[in-house]
């Protein structure tokens, strides 16, 4: 018998292709799991419009459920309500930090070039003496920072609201 607890547990085993330390559940991109008889319908939402990982996430979800005997699986994509970093789980934020990516602070960056950007503690040495190098980083969801204390360059998963 298919039940949603089992499906959510399986989804916990599907990792984000760009940041493999996060599962798709941690990332908050799973919006709904619906079961109708033998059919399982998963609804996902993209982090950013151009996120190139969405197709792969979809394929990986289907593959994971198929491997576990669920053969009738559909995945659909919704845009509204729009994804926000508020949907990252607490465990996801901790995993990011341990991985070396600073998790989102609770404010949208105010500045690109002027005034003080968001204070983001260094995920390596915990110092708050860091600087934003660029608002746009290695993927659409990240900004590029550097620590002034330990000099480590690091990614910041920027706040999107």
């Amino acid at each position: 018998m298919v039940n949603s607890t089992k499906i959510w547990a399986l989804l916990e085993e599907v990792s984000d292709p760009e940041i493999p330390v996060l599962t798709v559940v941690d990332l908050g991109v799973i919006r709904n799991v619906a079961i109708e008889g033998e059919h399982v319908q998963i609804t996902i939402t993209p982090t950013y419009s151009g996120c190139p990982a969405m197709k792969l996430i979809e394929d990986q979800i289907i593959e994971k459920l198929n491997e576990n005997g669920l053969m009738d699986v559909g995945v659909d994509l919704v845009l509204s309500p729009a994804w926000t970093t508020d949907w990252l789980t607490e465990s996801g934020k901790n995993k990011l930090r341990e991985y070396g990516i600073a998790p989102p602070e609770n404010e949208v960056d105010k500045s690109v070039l002027f005034s003080a950007p968001t204070v983001v503690p260094c995920p390596k040495c915990k110092s708050s003496n860091t600087r934003m190098v660029s608002l746009f980083g290695s993927t659409a969801c990240k900004a590029h920072y550097q620590c002034n204390e330990c000099l480590e360059p690091f990614d910041y998963f920027k706040c999107l609201r």
Binding site: Y48, S49, G50, L79, A82, L113, V133, F136
Partner: protein, 249 residues
């Protein structure tokens, strides 16, 4: 003509062509961080274009998806404003083009969130969050370059002098817009013009830039009448599908 299809096509083509233009900076940015920033913004725009053109195709109902609309239409069938097809020029020119566009796109998407076309409203809601980052980026660069050195000031003023004639087309409206406004699908651009004026004036003042007094204005993009540049963009963008029809990878 299907006005609903046409309306979404115009928005999608603006995103697609500007995204393609910004992508030309890949590997050529003045500094690595800006190379990455411009390609990030390009990716957002192409993502938005994908959503918009897929939606346009489903409204049209003739089996064309976003890819077919992007790669298999001719120049005259593209409905983007002429501003977005203008060449990148130097970095300042690219930032000025981006700023004029972003300052329009932010209030436009804010208003489009109220569309009675729920998929269009969802795309607007999603894209607005991205556009806010774009506008911050382009407006601060316009200020830094305008209020920077004598050379940076002169060069970005020249960009403004050149691009200003294309800015007015952002507010072009015709029978397609009227019909969409009546149906609650589209945005009355007159209602967001004040917001655009306020952003543009505030940024130019801080950047010590002057809006050119020459009021010569271009339009035609919404009807498929473009500058010479669009054909070259399409030649580059569509090459693979034209050379190897229906190829997938």
């Amino acid at each position: 003509m299907n006005a609903h299809f046409e309306y979404i096509l115009r928005i999608g083509d603006d995103s697609l062509i500007l995204g393609q233009r910004l992508g030309e900076w890949c590997g050529h940015g003045p500094i690595l961080e800006e190379d990455i920033a411009m390609t990030n913004i390009s990716l957002d725009l192409i993502g938005q274009a994908t959503s918009l053109l897929n939606h346009a195709g489903s409204i049209e109902g003739e089996g064309r998806d976003g890819d077919k609309l992007a790669f298999l239409r001719f120049e005259r069938d593209f409905k983007n404003v002429i501003l977005v097809e203008q060449p990148n020029g130097d970095f300042g020119m690219t930032m000025m083009r981006q700023f004029l566009f972003d300052a329009f796109r932010q209030p436009f998407y804010e208003a489009l969130q109220k569309s009675t076309d729920l998929q269009l409203s969802a795309i607007a809601e999603k894209s607005l969050k991205e556009t806010k980052y774009h506008l911050k980026h382009s407006s601060e660069w316009v200020i830094r370059l305008g209020d920077g050195t004598e050379e940076s000031h002169n060069r970005i003023q020249e960009s403004l002098d050149l691009l200003w004639r294309y800015a007015n087309e952002l507010f072009y409206m015709d029978e397609v817009d009227q019909l969409m406004i009546e149906k609650g699908i589209g945005v009355d651009l007159n209602a967001i013009k004040l917001s655009w004026d306020a952003t543009v004036n505030a940024v130019f003042e801080e950047a010590t830039l002057k809006i050119p007094s020459n009021n010569w204005k271009f339009e035609g993009g919404r009807k498929g009448l473009h500058s010479e540049h669009l054909g070259y963009i399409l030649a580059d963008m569509q090459y693979m599908q034209r050379a190897y029809p229906n190829m997938e990878w």
